[in-house]
């Protein structure tokens, strides 16, 4: 068969969002690939310039539908850096608790989409079902299920609701049992291993040169996690391991994310245990001083950075968002070339694409 270009996207089951992957195939083998993004560009960075600082928090939620709380937390951290606001300790613990919960929710959605991509319908339904447990917790905490609008500049919106600690511990013990079950279900399946092992190799040097971060980088054997290397919030107090894997393939990425879910469970338990009493929010000034604020967090998908420039008014002069997937998707051709067309879903699914933050 002659070589031909195939547009996988913008409307395609593989894309999980709105982007286009052009692949050139020779029969079934991929010889070239070009990711094209920009279909979901909403101009969020520009929109931020017309809104006051607290009004941007719900907008930051909309950056990623998979892990919205991480992004509003990141935005609040950047503005706190700009305003030199000290956050109460209880608020920091609540934030760590919720963003780790968000990480589990995000990884579960990734696992569901990944299983669906590989044709494993049971994996899709079971993981989505258990994601509900944490969404219910979020609902009791914030009133919303996807976009929470929960962090505030100088703290969080509410204190924990009654019995939240008990419910969280119950959810965690339920979820840890389920996680074991998933590992058995996925790794016990010979076909799943056939589809994942030695597929989509991204070498350590390539990953570093391309600027890939997050689980994809850690799956290439690099121990780099902002929670450990540049600790923010109260991650210094937490005892957890950075999940890495040295196989560089799709299975390594799967394994890293599964390990991260175990670590997130550990962190949530510690945060619940160490949670101090006290205020959960302080009133932040309305206007920011002239200057800049920067925050970096370990998003479920990689390193997220927000850079805010204040000009003394109640609105930011400029907000710059660094999205992890925007960088990671540029590594797609490196991973895709030489594999089969059916591997596209495994490789791109393994990156956990989120177009909301990529196109902004």
């Amino acid at each position: 068969m002659a070589e031909m270009w195939i547009n996988m996207g913008p409307q395609h089951p593989m894309t999980h969002g709105l982007w286009n992957l052009r692949v050139k195939v020779d029969g079934e083998t991929i010889v070239d690939a070009q990711p094209e993004i920009g279909y979901l560009h909403r101009g969020i960075e520009k929109l931020c310039e017309g809104k006051s600082y607290p009004q941007i928090i719900p907008l930051a939620d909309r950056l990623c539908y998979g892990s919205s709380l991480t992004w509003s937390h990141l935005y609040c951290m950047a503005v706190e850096d700009l305003m030199r606001v000290e956050v109460p300790e209880r608020a920091e613990y609540i934030r760590v608790l919720t963003i780790e919960m968000q990480r589990i929710v995000s990884h579960l959605m990734w696992l569901a989409a990944y299983a669906g991509d590989l044709g494993l319908a049971a994996g899709f339904v079971y993981t989505m079902r258990d994601r509900e447990v944490f969404l219910d917790l979020f609902q009791s905490l914030t009133g919303a299920r996807i976009t929470y609008n929960f962090p505030r500049i100088g703290g969080v919106a509410h204190d924990l609701p009654p019995n939240f600690e008990r419910d969280s511990l119950r959810a965690l013990s339920y979820f840890e049992g389920r996680l074991k079950e998933y590992e058995d279900m996925f790794e016990g399946s010979k076909i799943f291993m056939m589809r994942n092992v030695d597929v989509g190799i991204l070498r350590k040097e390539d990953a570093i040169n391309l600027g890939v971060t997050g689980p994809t980088l850690r799956a290439s054997g690099v121990t780099y996690d902002l929670r450990k290397d540049v600790p923010y919030s109260v991650y210094e107090e937490m005892d957890f391991d950075v999940a890495t894997h040295k196989d560089c393939d799709c299975y390594a990425r799967y394994r890293v994310r599964m390990d991260e879910m175990w670590e997130s469970c550990k962190i949530m338990r510690q945060a619940l245990q160490k949670m101090p009493k006290g205020k959960w929010r302080i009133v932040a000034p309305r206007n920011a001083p002239v200057g800049t604020g920067l925050a970096r967090v370990e998003d479920p998908r990689g390193e997220g950075v927000i850079y805010v420039v204040g000009d003394g008014s109640e609105r930011p002069y400029r907000v710059k968002i660094r999205s992890p997937i925007f960088v990671t998707v540029s590594a797609a051709p490196k991973m895709l070339i030489g594999y089969k067309l059916a591997d596209v879903v495994a490789i791109m699914g393994g990156l956990d694409m989120c177009i909301g933050e990529t196109d902004r």
Partner: protein, 375 residues
């Protein structure tokens, strides 16, 4: 009384009734008309005409049975999937019978949709492919008897087609060509790749499939379903030919394109594969026919390996046959919902490197059993 005699009786009665009126009408008219009327009436009562009409009636019976089975199967498919996945499945449409009418509702909905032919499609091939696919799949059912008496391929004296099993397998193997045709004619890259995958896949599973079936033919000493099932009176072939049965089931899963092997319509990478460009009732026909093929696969596995209609005579033979075919279908669905999809090079490797040697071993076992005189 077998199915042929039953249908023959109905046709005979109908022709008699009509002829009665016809001759009476002819008597009212002048003699030259009367002669014409007599000639037509004699033709209608002739043996050849009655046989042809009987066969046509049998075809209707087979198609109706196939469609009822399809409705049942789709319902089982949805309910079983729902129970595996913690939800209810079809519920509201016909809820006193467990949502059984949902499939009819879906069918009506597909019927009223617009039929769209892509502008640059090869129209002839595009329109012909569903005909071949549906026709060849229903043809399989025509050869598989439910019991000694309930088979289409029997004549008045109870003889059956001597090579019915061969014919069924041949009809089974036509579908990949229509898939290739549909994929090419739709003029779409996804459908093209889907069609090519179907052809490549057929290369890998068809040979082990036929090798295992050959072992059954060897033990039974016949190509006909009735002889094969009767030969399993003492022991089902699935027990001595256990390896062959497993190979047969795996190949059958590839033949009916269910999930570990549904590469031609791999929805994750090829949107919907070769059915991408088909909409409305054409898609409905493809969907329905896939289920017909699952049912035919279950029926083949039942007849060749699970003793066909043999069973304690508490319930009729036909029901035994259907129960076994349904169990095979449910096992297929179970496999579908709990396994990921394999890759196209992996299924080729599986077919040639694993299944073919196993099929040859199975054939050797069959030869050994036959030469020992145990069957």
């Amino acid at each position: 009384m077998n199915l042929f005699e039953f249908c023959y009786g109905i046709i005979h009665w109908l022709v008699d009734l009509v002829n009665h009126l016809w001759y009476w009408l002819g008597d009212l008219l002048p003699w030259w008309f009367g002669d014409f009327f007599d000639a037509v009436g004699d033709f209608a009562a002739s043996q050849g005409h009655l046989s042809v009409m009987t066969i046509l009636l049998e075809v209707v019976v087979v198609v109706v049975i196939a469609l009822i089975n399809v409705l049942n199967f789709l319902w089982i498919f949805r309910k079983f999937m729902a129970r595996m996945f913690d939800f209810y499945g079809p519920y509201y449409v016909g809820y006193r019978i467990g949502g059984w009418l949902q499939n009819l509702a879906d069918g009506i909905k597909l019927f009223v949709k617009e039929i769209i032919v892509p502008a640059k499609a090869d129209k002839m091939g595009y329109l012909l492919a569903p005909v071949i696919f549906v026709g060849s799949s229903i043809l399989i059912l025509a050869t598989i008897p439910f019991s000694v008496d309930f088979g289409v391929s029997t004549n008045k004296s109870g003889d059956y087609v001597p090579a019915g099993a061969l014919f069924a397998l041949a009809a089974f193997a036509i579908a990949p060509f229509s898939i290739l045709l549909a994929g090419w004619a739709s003029n779409n890259k996804y459908t093209l790749i889907g069609g090519m995958r179907s052809a490549a896949q057929m290369m890998s599973y068809e040979i082990p499939l036929l090798m295992t079936v050959a072992s059954v033919f060897l033990l039974a000493g016949s190509f006909g379903f009735v002889d094969i099932v009767n030969a399993q009176h003492d022991m089902w072939f699935g027990i001595p030919l256990f390896i062959g049965f497993i190979v047969f089931l795996v190949c059958l899963a590839a033949e009916v394109e269910i999930i570990p092997f549904d590469l031609p319509e791999a929805e994750a990478e090829l949107v919907e594969g070769w059915t991408t460009e088909y909409g409305g009732m054409r898609f409905g026909l493809f969907y329905m026919t896939t289920t017909v093929r699952s049912y035919a696969g279950g029926a083949l596995a039942t007849a060749l390996f699970l003793g066909g209609w043999q069973g304690p005579s508490l319930i009729p033979d036909e029901i035994w046959f259907l129960i076994k075919a349904y169990i095979v279908f449910v096992v297929f669905q179970w496999m579908t919902w709990s396994l990921p999809r394999v890759r196209v090079d992996q299924i080729l490797g599986l077919g040639w490197k694993r299944l073919l040697p196993l099929a040859i071993i199975n054939l050797m076992i069959a030869v050994a059993l036959k030469s020992m005189g145990w069957f």
